[in-house]
Amino acid sequence: MSDSPVSVMRLARGTDVLFLLIGAVMIFAMHAGFAFLEAGSVRRQSQVNAMNKIVADWAVSTVVYFLIGFPIARGIQFWAEAGVLVGSRQIDMMHFFLYLGFAACIPAIISGGIAERAKFWTNAVAGGVFVGLVYPLFEACTWGQLSGLAFGENSWLASWTGAGFHDYAGSVVVHSMGGWLALPAILILGPRRRRYTAEGTSVPIPVSSIPFLALGSWILCVGWFGFNVMSAGRIADVSALVALNSLMAMVGGILAAMLFSHNDAGFTHNGALAGLVAVCAGSDIFHPAGAFVVGAGAGAIFVFGFPMVTERMKIDDVLGVWPLHGLCGSWGGIAAGIFGQRLFGGLGGVSFVAQLTVTGIAVLFAFTAGALVYGVLNMTFGIRLADQEEMLGPDLAIHHLEASPEEAL
């Protein structure tokens, strides 16, 4: 039957849907990666909670982004009959699915920072606000319906700096945003019980499972190629350079993290992610060698940033989401303005000043929004588990279930 002649138009549309579907599903799958990365990086008493948090965040994100977020960001909603949707809204629907995957990264990123001590539902509510309002606003300004006014090609920014803000796949829009939204939450929550002694000595809490952590990292790395490549939005615009640069940055992140951490498995697997976070913004304009350097820089940022944050600044960012997504994401935004230049073999057409400016704006915006939302939630409902609940662990306190119920005694 498929031998019947098919119009090129129809083939092109079908291929676009397929292209976006693959991207959307790969990004959806990344959320399993977030879940396992967290499950492996917390104590066993918090594994179930990690799992359910990610699933709940995905579900809440879908609903609010469908109802509010996507309309804000892109001016598109789906309140029409199925017949209309099928007729002329195929690509819109796939775009919704794809960009939902980006949006839902926000609570998934935060999740790793606030692990083991945050209340479940207040945190889900915060996630809903971020995915429904905060993130879409910024998305609208960079990629969406406000980009002409705000940071896009014909914006004030472009006329001032000579180029719009360039963030191909979200180093700033997604990752930096997520990391800097997480920071106030982590600060307001405070460290886990017994994480630092009264005298301020750091007592690291060992993670539960390197294989789970590694599984999470692998799932994220694999899905990331969907994240970056399918940011093209349609097959005709697909760029092999994006794939190659993502690969090179990931490898740069791995090698840097491995060398600087003396072959520590936690750092190595997070180093891959650091590289990928940083390459998103300029993945379409770097030379592969530039991408490698950007990734290696991110790997180094994480290896040195994580202990700085958790040991010296005594901020109990459990998975290190602020250094990983916040710092490496900002680095990626700025790096696009450096290694994207033709001087470094890049494609050019990007302005360092524009990159720096919007990266800075994103940091301020995210930190403020995070402080506001978590601050209000903290004062109204409270965002932290009771002491007794935290001692039992969130799995038992919230879900009444351990990770290995059979082994319970």
Partner: protein, 113 residues
């Protein structure tokens, strides 16, 4: 000779080991247990069925010592394991009649150290 068994909070193990080392006690056997004492219990549900759980994770340390080491060992554990919270644990002392070092077949006070 005595066998000293201490049930302590898991996160005190490192401190206890360090304190024992100061007291000259470097040999021990350690394993994870669950315990219930004065700490409150909690409820676990699986697919709608609830049951009462009141065992919390602890670490058990067993140390065979000669008489003159009994009190120093106990003191070291008490001082290091104490956190002041309910659930800090217990020390039990039982008589130990013989001790054999497998590698050499040595017995008694020589073997224990």
């Amino acid at each position: 000779m005595k066998m000293i068994e201490a049930v302590i909070q898991p996160d005190r193990l490192e401190v206890v080991k360090a304190e024992l080392a100061k007291a000259g006690v470097r040999k021990m056997t350690v394993f994870r247990v669950k315990g219930c004492g004065q700490q409150m219990g909690y409820t676990e549900t699986y697919r709608g069925r609830r049951h009462q759980v009141n065992l919390l994770p602890k670490v058990c340390i067993r140390i065979g010592v000669n008489e003159d080491y009994v009190q120093p060992t106990i003191d070291a554990i008490v001082s290091a394991a104490r956190g002041g919270d309910i659930g800090d644990g217990k020390i039990f002392v039982t008589p130990l009649e013989r001790c054999v070092r497998i590698r050499t077949g040595e017995e008694g006070s020589e073997a224990i150290g």
